[in-house]
Symmetry: C2
Subunit: 629 residues, 2 copies
């Protein structure tokens, strides 16, 4: 099948300050047993089901209402337009890699409804129509008006890149121009309480070449943290200090991480070093003090917010699916901006764990929160009144091939591994086509065969994940010692020939992860990790003991075993642990240790499953951080 | 000094279904070194400062406005009246035990302002005056209208019992009659979103003999949990099921615990067994699965709410001071209802720990939340916009003597211990005067000398706290073996003579408390308890190590030492522990255990202080649950 070449997911290919250039979404074709079936479910089940939800919940009717086609009340929450836009973005990405006349017709129809709802002056937000027209731009803090515009712009850019059509891009540029005529240095201060439009506007600049959009994105970021504050100098809105002075991820997690996406996009275009420094500080704050081992972001239900350093409760982890997606989007920008694989490490961890857990295996149910411990009450839902997460998962999955590779002047960079092909153009000219074969994430053997190469030498950069301690590389059957940078990748520079084969071996022992001692709930506990996957114990696999009572001795051997029929095919970890009796605790909450008998113990067989797959069978307790004493 | 005899704090002395009868507030005179100085600070510092706050924040001006004396806007939050009422209740209690012409004049003046704001029909809520008059009783769920009435009624009952004056009681009965004419079986359904008035109305019934108030209290409780729900059947408002079907403390903690107060009051008057069973189930839910070791209640910031079973995070404990007070109030009712000392155990734990931590040693700063672990950022404040806690602490302290003793037909029950005298009338006739001498809570020796006794025999019931494992009793210098009931008390039945002396010895070893294994954050940790006090480590006493890095070996000896100059005089616990180095964790959040070196350790001297006294010196980390491995 021949595809129309699309643009990249985030088009940093001409960004002057980006080290790497993302490849087009169509450059990578996944044919693996892990992601490819998920992308198929996304196309075949999730996208149609979400469109149905958008219809049935009145989300699309809101556009018809705004266009005067239906005389009805606005339905749902004031930011419901954004769900339709995210669905459209997901559909556009999907069409890029898998043309589908039915989906394309559906998307065209939705775009027609959107376009018809736009006002003469370019304004578009179906909530602020008719009787609420006077309220436009009067409550930027709460009502997500510019946020919705941002999602429309992202959808339009994706649609244009995927299909070449300008139907939605024209709507988006008119709306962006409306914003640009409203806000700006000499016009009106203000920014959205929920960041999103910043990164969208930079992308619109990239797609159209109009610098006013880049300026407006920069303007919106600069609005935050002034005195007096845009939003009372509240950290919830990242308004406590100017962006360049922000050193800790704080407040609403999705807002924070969308802000960093936008700021990273600005840096890629402007090279602003103060922004770059702030991004580095925020990234350290996030990944070194405030991130779950699954990549999840946001510790607090109150405010859907980041907590203090090391505040990472497991049962009450908020870890919104959208926040995990926002982290992937941010780390993708940082990876291309800097070329450093530490960002790909976070991206990979989050994709396989904290993001993927947000979706049921059948593609129809969603988590809003992704806790790391549960008693069996937390279950995925078909939809939400506030339905930000479902279409966000859909757009992430539909765009996933775009996250696997980048190019640079020196060569080709592989960030993620899966069976499939990549066909990329080098900036210096020439095409590289390569094919990867691997059972990743179940097995760390990756065989990469060069199928086409230019005559000039180039470097193949293979990311060595931070979870891997003993990677080795063979070239055409011979062990080699590639240049290993400090930044986690093997570099092989040579003149490549079609047929050259690189075998990257990433051993996947079962690691017991421990966390910083100040994470109060993880003391004396380990999380199991194998390759990029975090594991958990789920009750349905353990009839002999409550999984919260299981203690895993340090010397207990854990054996990986691939079980084809389980949860779509997963490698489980099996071993012997012990279960501690709780007979001393009937009707008791506190007891003096002095009079407490040692708990009875009995051996139990345990089976750990990948975290992303939990809650797809019968409900029961689950735990990621297993007691180790 | 001769005092006018007051009524009890909660007057169950004629309740047909109560086993015990609380003694008048004036029956117990505290002369100890622990509580008596706190009550003095409450009188001399806290009450005047709170009155000043009520004036300066417009809380009293709101009454002047409602009375037409001032042409100003309503100031503050819609339920601000209740803070004035709680202050008035506290002042009334204080006047009962410590007459004070200045305070009495202040209180009379405040009462005059309150009375002047009352409408012809008895309605009184300063928020719903003038332009908001049409909104009366239109949003019972959110606007605390009946809640405020409840606090007025409680203040009025306390004022009447303490002073014999009817000035406030007349206001309260008119308001209660206004409620009674508005709500009821044949009138209008509804109840307040925030419970409070239920217990107040039962007390008003007790004070006035008017059964309509008891019926209205019962009616309000019965409104909850119907289909369709009063408040959408939301558990936040305890509206998920009818009260008799409630088995788990849930939703907003203060609301839940005020509801149980009201229900217990109803049971004392009616003997309703379904209510009694529900109270028992709720008490088990609370104390066996959802209560902090400090007695604190409420695990979640979101909704100021109870969490799931065993969900008891330490750093993010919400544990509102008001919820601790509500628990004391509920357990006091249950104690007198049943005569069972398990309720006094919870009351004592909560008074000495989760309640008392709400107030600074100087009596001028307050905690709203009382966490069990902190990094030094949580500090007491002088006042709050939502200032429910400060006057709640004041009324609890001012009424404290009333919680020490009860009588029954069989004799005298001592619940709490402190140096002081109790002069009580037995229901069967005769007066008992006794004096207790003790250094409680620092020392568990309590010497009780009978100073006056009737000729007929009676039983002296001495509570043996649940924290004590080896209590023994001497009578007139000879060891005796009093009848020990299953319910935690020593009973000595005899004909008593003036001069008889009972020595109750409650050994106070330092106990290491452990918690149910499903409390995720307490795994491998102990809390130190000595007598009724829970201890903590505070950074200011530990210059050598972050207190979060301290590990207390099981065999480390901890030595109590009374330090007169410290924190108003406290017994600290001193010992040797170890500090674990965190050098492996610089800029790291997660690491594989396989490559992690054992942390370096070094011996550190530790000094644990009573939890209630933390955050009175320089800010720094604090921890109750200390790692023991």
């Amino acid at each position: 099948m021949s595809l129309r070449p699309s643009g990249p997911v985030v088009d940093m290919s001409h960004s002057p300050h980006a080290k790497l250039r993302p490849v087009p979404l169509t450059a990578v074709r996944l044919e693996d047993a892990f992601w490819a079936p998920r992308l198929a479910v996304n196309r075949e089940v999730t996208l149609p089901a979400q469109l149905k939800q958008c219809e049935e919940t009145g989300r699309i009717d809101n556009f018809r209402r705004a266009a005067g086609k239906k005389q009805i009340d606005f339905q749902g929450i004031y930011f419901n337009d954004s769900d339709v836009y995210k669905w459209a973005e997901a559909a556009a990405f999907s069409l890029a890699t898998h043309p589908d006349p039915v989906l394309e017709a559906d998307l065209d129809a939705v775009i027609a409804e959107i376009a018809a709802a736009q006002e003469e002056d370019g304004y578009l937000d179906t909530y602020f129509t008719f009787e609420r027209k006077p309220e436009r731009f009067t409550n930027l803090r709460d009502l997500h008006e510019i946020y919705c515009a941002g999602h429309l712009i992202q959808a339009a850019v994706a649609h244009h890149r995927a299909t070449g059509k300008t139907t939605l891009l024209e709507v988006a540029t008119r709306l962006a121009d409306c914003l640009d005529k409203t806000f700006g240095l000499d016009l009106r201060s203000g920014a959205c309480g929920h960041e999103e439009a910043e990164m969208a506007l930079v992308e619109l600049y990239r797609e159209t070449g109009q610098t006013r959009y880049l300026k407006l994105a920069h303007f919106f970021i600069e609005q935050r943290g002034k005195k007096p504050g845009l939003f009372g100098n509240s950290a919830y809105y990242q308004d406590h200090v100017p962006f360049i002075d922000q050193t800790e991820v704080t407040g609403h997690a999705v807002r924070q991480l969308y802000l960093t996406c936008g700021a990273a996009d600005v840096v890629a275009e402007t090279g602003d070093t103060a922004y770059r420094d702030a991004l580095e500080a925020l990234w350290r704050s996030f990944t070194q003090r405030r991130m779950y081992v699954t990549g999840g972001a946001g510790s607090r239900y109150e405010g859907e917010a980041f907590g203090a350093d090391y505040e990472l409760p497991n049962d009450r982890a908020y870890t919104e699916t959208c926040a995990a997606i926002a982290s992937v989007m941010w780390n993708w920008r940082m990876l291309n901006l800097t070329g450093e694989t530490r960002f790909a490490d976070i991206m990979e961890t989050t994709l396989y764990n904290g993001m993927l857990s947000g979706l049921s295996l059948d593609g129809t149910h969603y988590f809003y929160q992704n806790p790391l411990a549960d008693r069996g009450k937390h279950r995925r839902q078909e939809w939400f009144g506030c339905a930000c997460c479902p279409p966000n998962v859909a757009r992430m999955l539909a765009s996933l091939p775009g996250y696997f590779a980048s190019v640079s002047e020196a060569g080709v960079h592989l960030h993620l591994y899966a069976t499939g092909t990549a066909t990329v153009s080098l900036p210096e000219g020439g095409t590289v086509r390569l094919r990867a074969e691997t059972d990743y994430p179940w097995n760390g053997e990756v065989v990469i065969r060069i199928e086409e190469a230019p005559e000039a030498p180039f470097t193949l950069y293979l990311r060595v994940p931070n979870w891997c301690r003993d990677a080795h590389v063979e070239l055409n059957g011979t062990d080699i010692f590639p240049t290993m940078t400090l930044r986690g990748r093997a570099e092989i520079h040579r003149v490549w020939q079609a047929g050259d084969t690189v075998r990257l071996t990433l051993p996947m022992p079962v690691d017991r992860i421990v966390s910083h001692p100040h994470v109060l709930g993880n003391r004396g506990r380990v999380a199991l990790r194998r390759g990029p996957l975090i594991y958990c114990l789920e009750q349905v696999d353990h009839s002999d003991a409550d999984v919260w009572d299981i203690v895993l001795p340090d010397n207990a051997e854990l054996t990986p075993e691939f079980v084809p029929g389980l949860l779509g095919g997963v490698t489980v970890l099996r071993g012997q642990a012990i279960a501690q009796g709780t007979e001393e605790w009937t009707r008791r909450l506190y007891r003096p240790k002095e009079i407490l008998r040692e708990p009875s113990t009995r051996p139990v067989s345990i089976t750990a499953i990948p975290y992303y797959a939990w809650a797809n069978r019968e409900p029961g307790p689950m735990q990621v951080w297993i007691s180790s004493l």
